[in-house]
Symmetry: C2
Subunit: 216 residues, 2 copies
Amino acid sequence: MQRFKVGELVVDSGTPILMEGSNSPQLFTVLHGMGLRYKILSNGRRQVVSLIFPGDFLGLQAGIMGEMGHSVEATTKMTLCVFDRSEIWSFFKERPERAFALTWLAAVDEHFLGETLSTLGQRSAIQSIAWALVRVFSRGQSLDMVHNGKMPFPFKQQDIADALGLSLVHTNKTLGKLKEQQLAHWSDGTLRVSDLETLAKIAMVDDLTPAKRPIL
Amino acid sequence: MQRFKVGELVVDSGTPILMEGSNSPQLFTVLHGMGLRYKILSNGRRQVVSLIFPGDFLGLQAGIMGEMGHSVEATTKMTLCVFDRSEIWSFFKERPERAFALTWLAAVDEHFLGETLSTLGQRSAIQSIAWALVRVFSRGQSLDMVHNGKMPFPFKQQDIADALGLSLVHTNKTLGKLKEQQLAHWSDGTLRVSDLETLAKIAMVDDLTPAKRPIL
DNA sequence: CGGATCATTGAAGTCCCTCAAGTCCTGTGG
DNA sequence: CCACAGGACTTGAGGGACTTCAATGATCCG
């Protein structure tokens, strides 16, 4: 991969990285930090498409289709590994195993988007929030970010509300219920899950084994 | 592509084609007919992930990740072009331009899933249904299925309800409103859109040009 | 200390859901 | 030929999950 690597980029929290509709000349993989993918509708409402963790690949749509379908923003300080979009094609020609890994990543993303879709369409508010926390915590575990049952979770309640299609108020009250029941505490940027089993049951998640992801 | 083609498959309406969690040895592209991608949650509710039109590729997740994230079912009689899953790898090694097209398809799917997510999360019922009809009609136009403002649309109201996370009853009443306003009529398996502009405005869709899709 | 941002809580309203019938159509069997 | 059953669509009524509006704390920072 070193051959295609252009350099590293460090951005502050709040920095826009990719814009919906743009054709970025650069693609990224996340080395450190967290972020958000989101879309803004013409009525001003925001849909958070996914949370971004280390290891995620950013800009596939621009790289392949020539146009991003969503925007990407840094939630914390992030460091990114930068690639040149124009190299993508030589990628496919000369490094088929890497091209395959790229497609794998796309397939994994698609898989999770399907899960998210099911959440927005079919789960109640408490089920949705439980699902989101289970998802985040599982991902955190596989990234070794969990220590003593806690992991960093630097998002705002508004972010989760926008991710789940709920209002901020209702998101807050529903988080309160999970806290009351001693299932999950989230405050000051850290998430503590006390009873992952029960949380997963509420969330209607049956498979807690994290999905395999290729490394670029 | 002929080299990789195993054969053609014709299935009746209602036939399951791929099952969630399975690792199908076969992949398909749709030559004729329509179908559904869907997931079933443990509480029995169904989320329709997308409608399937001719030209769609089925089984990418099984081909790449080894496991389908959703099921696929035929809504009409369908004829499918069948490929061997084990050929995917040689695909990447020997036909990089085809591998690229495959990844392109994955990226397009991901793009549309993001749109769908925004619909479930941020649009009201009438906006959602208008959005779905605009999407279907646009796709129909680019596939030359539209004649005299009409196109075949062989789904049930329950399918659309499950796709948008709405109840059947409310879906029915909302479709009624669009009919009242002379914007779209859907009955007996055919969809007639009288005023695509206005429908798109309700749906908050600003770009009516259909997305480019590669052909496999 | 004033301003900004985020979290929290109360109250009122509404969009959408569930429950429940009823219609229309098609196919099937007596 | 008619009775009946099943499936999809339609319509009405009532209730509830979630939204919006509004106000208050809490924390941080120039």
